[in-house]
């Protein structure tokens, strides 16, 4: 496709029009849902979702640690506290993310700025994932050892396998997110 062909395809592109019948129906449904406030933007959804994650992290991990580990399995108290600390870490991380999403109006900004903000957020999220995996490893490792001592070696083997697989997949995802974000930022800086 030479530059002339690009110009040809551009002319054809301009002559394209949307399928009026299909879109009229879709628009009617969409506008009704939006007016009834049943459809919200992804940014709003994401904030709501991470707020729920934060509450779950703050409440669920300590409660599970106390009832499941401390009361039922009679694990040491420090392990229970470790889980509580983990819950607080993940909860705070989720709240930071909520704040970060809400601090910028991605839609109203010039596209370059929106891309720059989005890239920084991807980088931040990638770092947080890497730290999250390390924190998760630190808080679950003692549980595996504890279960091993209770005569359940399968849990230790399964746990180690899960940690290794999780770490590999997490690292791959971290690297791809970081590469993509850096590429976008480098392009903007150029």
């Amino acid at each position: 496709m030479s530059e002339n062909n690009l110009d040809d395809i551009r002319r054809e592109w301009q002559s394209l029009s949307a399928d009026t019948k299909k879109l009229a129906e879709a628009n009617r449904i969409l506008v009704a849902r939006l007016a009834a406030e049943k459809a919200t933007s992804k940014q709003q959804n994401l904030r709501r979702q991470y707020r729920i994650f934060a509450v779950v992290s703050f409440l669920l991990l300590p409660v599970l640690a106390y009832t499941g580990l401390y009361k039922i399995l009679e694990a040491p108290l420090w392990m229970c506290l470790l889980y509580t600390a983990g819950g607080i870490f993940f909860g705070v991380a989720d709240l930071c993310f909520v704040r970060m999403i809400g601090s910028v109006d991605y839609i109203g900004l010039p596209t370059c700025e929106a891309v720059a903000h989005a890239s920084r957020m991807i980088l931040w999220q990638a770092r947080l994932r890497a730290i999250g995996i390390a924190v998760a490893a630190v808080i679950v490792a003692p549980l595996f050892v504890f279960m091993y001592r209770m005569g359940k070696p399968d849990v230790l083997i399964g746990g180690i396998a899960g940690l290794v697989i999780g770490a590999v997949l997490g690292t791959l995802k971290y690297n791809s997110m970081r590469r993509m974000a850096r590429r976008m930022l480098a392009d903007l800086e150029s």
Binding site: L6, R10, Y106, M184
Partner: protein
């Protein structure tokens, strides 16, 4: 007519007027992870939210381009919205049954595949260029200078030509 009904009517008219523009942007940014359907709904939701803040400082089309492009760029797959009853994946009449229509579809598919690898800003520039928008409009949407838009567009065209040649070989 109540205020909310008037707003609804105004929005319906806006979507109707700019539907081709929005669908074209969604088509350019669509991928297996983000269908035209998903993107169109998200753009509409953001236009609806932004409508009350739009003061008319910029041209309506510039505002719509910016909202549509930024929405597509920052789109992330999380929970799906309740889906529309109408699929929009064929919302543009690209092909008909004639040999010419099939050839045109093939060429647009090729264009889409070549554009798919471009960076988000490059896609924004090429989308508006395809629609014959002046450099000043592209600059207003992207936040780049007019000179920068021209330089980038020149590079993008070279890149696309090279990719097309590789694909044809």
């Amino acid at each position: 007519m109540t205020e909310s009904m008037a707003r609804q009517k105004q929005f319906e008219e806006l979507l109707d007027t700019y539907k081709s523009l929005i669908v074209k942007v969604c088509y350019i940014y669509s991928s297996p992870q983000a269908t035209v359907d998903d993107l169109y709904q998200e753009v509409a939701a953001n236009l609806w939210t932004g409508l009350s803040h739009f003061r008319g400082d910029a041209k309506v089309s510039t505002w719509i381009y910016r909202t549509a492009i930024n929405t597509c760029i920052t789109w992330v797959r999380r929970n799906r919205h309740a889906s529309l009853n109408t699929s929009l994946d064929g919302a543009m009449t690209i092909a008909d049954d004639t040999a010419e229509g099939i050839e045109r579809e093939r060429r647009f598919k090729m264009l889409h595949d070549m554009i798919a690898d471009l960076l988000p800003i490059e896609k924004a520039i090429v989308t508006m260029w395809l629609d014959d928008k002046p450099y000043s409009d592209i600059a207003a949407v992207t936040g780049l200078s007019v000179a920068n838009v021209a330089t980038r567009l020149h590079r993008i065209k070279e890149k696309l030509s090279k990719r097309a040649n590789t694909q044809e070989q």
